[in-house]
């Protein structure tokens, strides 16, 4: 208590700083945020969408989370368990978390280890359809040790045991509230799903699905001086452009999420002078995926785009390399993302320990090298400039992506570069809800890949790429038998790759993990199976009068909303 008093005293002494007025909870008044995609539910376990995760992170909190630098910090837990401090068993089979002392839910009841154990039970219920099940991969059980201690047991040695209860994906929910919502009954608990009781800085006062959410400061929040804001409105819907305008030009709103706009558009808005864009980089990489199997419509349905029919053109690594060499990544960044993008040569661009430096030569566009590669591969320029091979096949590729202004600009640019090396690209754009929809009946999903190359972005949650890199193992490719589900989009298959990945899953030492992951990344990139284009950052915007924002792409962007405050 004394330390807190002295802190307050110190704050009062700095009477001229903007923080002076903030010593009291709620002194900053009202905060307006706009998300151009509106959250539909406040329970992240029932929806994996980013917008729902962000919104629910205002209320629900995990035991530990990543800070803006991607480092794990204790949140509801006292400290991060590690092998060194004994929190993680030496055989890597369990991890023991200890809750902070005196934690209470927003309704005043204490947070106990039973709530933590219940959270696991809720998500792992076989009929619940939990969206965050991957975080509980390999979990055998969660044991309550005492009021404040839980142990998570794994079925196999788990070198990175920070899946369950870590980050905004996997927060703790209150047992008393969700007790009757297990499994198939999960959707019936509308009230609980709309206004969950949490430990976060705010609590829900009004939830209107896909429209607006209102919050007020949690009266039982663990730090009596926080949050600075008394109430919060999170408005959803509309488009990114007007969201940015409302923050940076008219000042109606204090915070806008994920402004996917061309850089010069954002720059013009910033001249409005009421707010500023901020950006941060995570692991999201815009890439071109090469189809290693034949998508020709002449093939029977059970053979088309499966490993039974290798791609007649793209199976040749020289063609794939030529396609990659012809791309000017710097220019793509300049046109599409500005400061919110960086040219990418790696599938895993971040965190630094996993980012390979062996592929940086991709940064230079080399049309001559690309042409030479195609010549070498037996493709000679035809009468119209498009190359043909000995059998008279024209080098024409179908190039598909989802509908999105920046992606269509990229398509046009890449089409032109490819034409310069004698490759014709037929462009196609597909509505995102169909393209990413995974409906086995539709010919247009990215999994079915009825095209030669396709472009989209993907990333991994948290900071460890093990599962992400594991997606390209043999047998995981979408095919008719799996209802076209699967993560190995390229249909890549290399036993050496699989063996190396198996080694990664057994390795605990972080330096070693880094080395293996970089090696895996290099195999994919140097085979030109995946052609990374742009390492995409996230751009948000905040009003100049809003302080304390630390954009975090490893967790929720609203992770430290308790510390946000008004600058006079």
């Amino acid at each position: 208590m004394t330390s807190r008093m002295s802190l307050l005293g110190a704050a009062a002494a700095l009477a001229l700083t903007p923080f002076a007025a903030m010593a009291e909870r709620g002194a900053s008044g009202h905060l307006n945020m706009v998300y151009w995609q509106a959250p539909s539910i406040m329970n992240p376990y029932l929806s994996g969408g980013t917008k729902e995760q962000e919104a629910s992170s205002i209320v629900l909190e995990p035991l530990a989370r990543y800070n803006e630098n991607g480092e794990l910090v204790a949140w509801l837990a006292e400290s991060i368990p590690t092998v060194e401090n004994g929190g993680v068993a030496a055989d890597l089979m369990s991890i023991t978390w200890r809750l902070r002392e005196g934690l209470v839910w927003s309704d005043g009841t204490p947070v106990t280890s039973a709530d933590v154990a219940f959270t696991a039970e809720y998500c792992m219920h076989p009929e619940g359809g939990c969206a965050q099940l991957r975080n509980f991969n390999g979990v055998e059980g969660v044991d309550v040790v005492d009021e404040r201690t839980v142990t998570v047991r794994f079925g196999a040695p788990t070198p990175v045991p920070y899946g369950p209860f870590v980050s905004a994906n996997s927060p703790i929910i209150q047992r008393a509230q969700f007790e009757n919502c297990l499994g198939p009954r999960a959707p019936e608990c509308t009230d609980a799903n709309f206004s969950p009781i949490g430990t976060g800085a705010f609590r829900v006062t009004d939830f209107r699905p896909n429209d607006v959410i209102q919050f007020e400061a949690n009266p039982n929040y663990r730090d009596p001086a926080l949050p600075h804001f008394a109430t919060v409105t999170l408005k959803g819907g509309g488009d990114a452009a007007s969201a940015g305008r409302a923050v940076m030009e008219t000042g109606e709103m204090d915070y806008a999420w994920n402004l996917q706009l061309a850089p010069d558009v954002i720059a013009t808005m910033a001249q409005g002078g009421r707010g500023a864009p901020i950006s941060a980089f995570g692991t999201l990489v815009e890439r071109i995926e090469m189809n290693l199997t034949d998508p020709s419509a002449d093939l029977p349905a059970d053979v088309r785009s499966t490993r039974a029919a290798p791609h007649p053109v793209l199976s040749d690594i020289r063609v794939r390399e030529a396609l990659s060499r012809a791309i000017d990544r710097e220019l793509l960044v300049e046109i599409g993302y500005g400061t919110a993008g960086r040219p990418a040569c790696n599938l895993v661009p971040n965190p630094p320990i996993f980012a390979s430096e062996a592929n940086d030569n991709c940064l230079v566009q080399d049309l001559d090298r690309a042409r030479a590669l195609l010549d070498e591969a037996g493709w000679t320029p035809g009468a119209d400039g498009i190359r043909v091979n000995a059998e008279g096949r024209r080098l024409v590729l179908d190039y598909q992506t989802s509908t999105n202004a920046v992606r269509q600009d990229f398509q046009a640019l890449i089409q032109q570069w490819w034409r310069e090396i004698g490759v014709e690209a037929n462009l196609r754009n597909i509505n995102a809800s169909v393209f990413f929809g995974g409906d086995p009946g539709s010919p247009d999903t990215f999994q079915k890949f009825y095209a030669d190359v396709e472009m989209y972005a993907n990333n991994f949650t948290g900071t460890d790429p093990q599962n992400y890199l594991g997606a390209l193992r043999c047998g995981l490719e979408p095919r008719p038998e799996t209802q076209w589900q699967g993560e190995n989009i390229n249909r890549f298959c290399d036993p050496a790759y699989d063996a190396l990945h198996a080694e990664l899953t057994q390795t605990a030492n972080i330096e070693e993990r880094g080395r293996i992951a970089r090696q895996l990344n290099d195999i994919l990139v140097q085979n030109f199976v995946v052609v990374p284009l742009v390492d995409r950052g996230r751009v948000d915007a905040h009003a100049n009068s809003l302080g304390g924002v630390r954009l975090n792409v490893w967790d929720s962007g609203l992770w430290n909303i308790a510390e946000w405050h008004r600058i006079q």
């Binding site: 061309a262 010069d264 046109i335 202004a405 269509q408 032109q416 462009l427 169909v434 010919p443 247009d444």
Partner: protein, 300 residues
Amino acid sequence: MTDTSAFRPPRNQWWDVWDQFKTHKGALVGSVVFIAIVLFCFVGPYLWPHEATYINIRARNQGFSLEHPMGTDQLGRDILARMMKGGQVSLAVGVVAMVLSVFLGTLIGVAAGYFRRVDGLLMRMTDLFLALPLLPLLLVMSMLFRQPLSTAFGVEVGMFLLIVTAIALTSWMRTARVVRGDVLALKEREYVLAARSIGTPPRRLIIRHILPNVLSPVMVSATLMLATAIITESALSFLGLGFPPDFPTWGRLVADGVDYLQQYPSRSMLPGALISLVVLSVNYIGDGLRDALDPRIRGR
């Protein structure tokens, strides 16, 4: 009527229609503007040195100049060339879809209004089409027919057929309802009764007496349909149901330009103005045609 006209030698009635059409100033100006736009779009590309899809990245976001009279877009493509190319698609889609939709609507409307036996069935079908949610319908059409059509007719023609059919199939209902309402009233008029009582067969009765009298709502429907079709096309391409993304169309140029409204307002305003101009000119042509085809007005 003056004496001279009484002694005029007999001639084809279409000459009268043309004479009347010529006196309608709006219609004349409308025709000239429409033909000019058609020439601009279909002949222009042969005269203009720039290509619509050529990217000149060093010349991006330029303003008006002699080299690029309408500037260039964010990738350095010449906007004038894109407007010409875009107009080809938009005009073709707009006009064909309009004709199809209005034809279908008029056919169903007249049939339902005139023949009581089919009225119930046709109107319930109209209710069904009105109630179908548009987006899922279009997505299903695209899923089922896109590939077969593009293999049968090639990507561009296949897409064109698909788009035009999709627009026509989802937009004939209003014309049908409006025409039916008018026909219901018309067929109880005395002259129709008289014609029927002397044994005029329904086909001739419809063509001679009913159709000319529903012409004006049909014309209004047609003009409104033209605008709707041009804009719907851009919505379709947004869904991935339309033309490939390297195909500019007016609707898509407007949509793409909206984000740049503040920096480069001309980018969406110019194609928008062209759409409006086409619709306005067609509207005046329709007005003139309607007047010219109405014998009561023609004599005045």
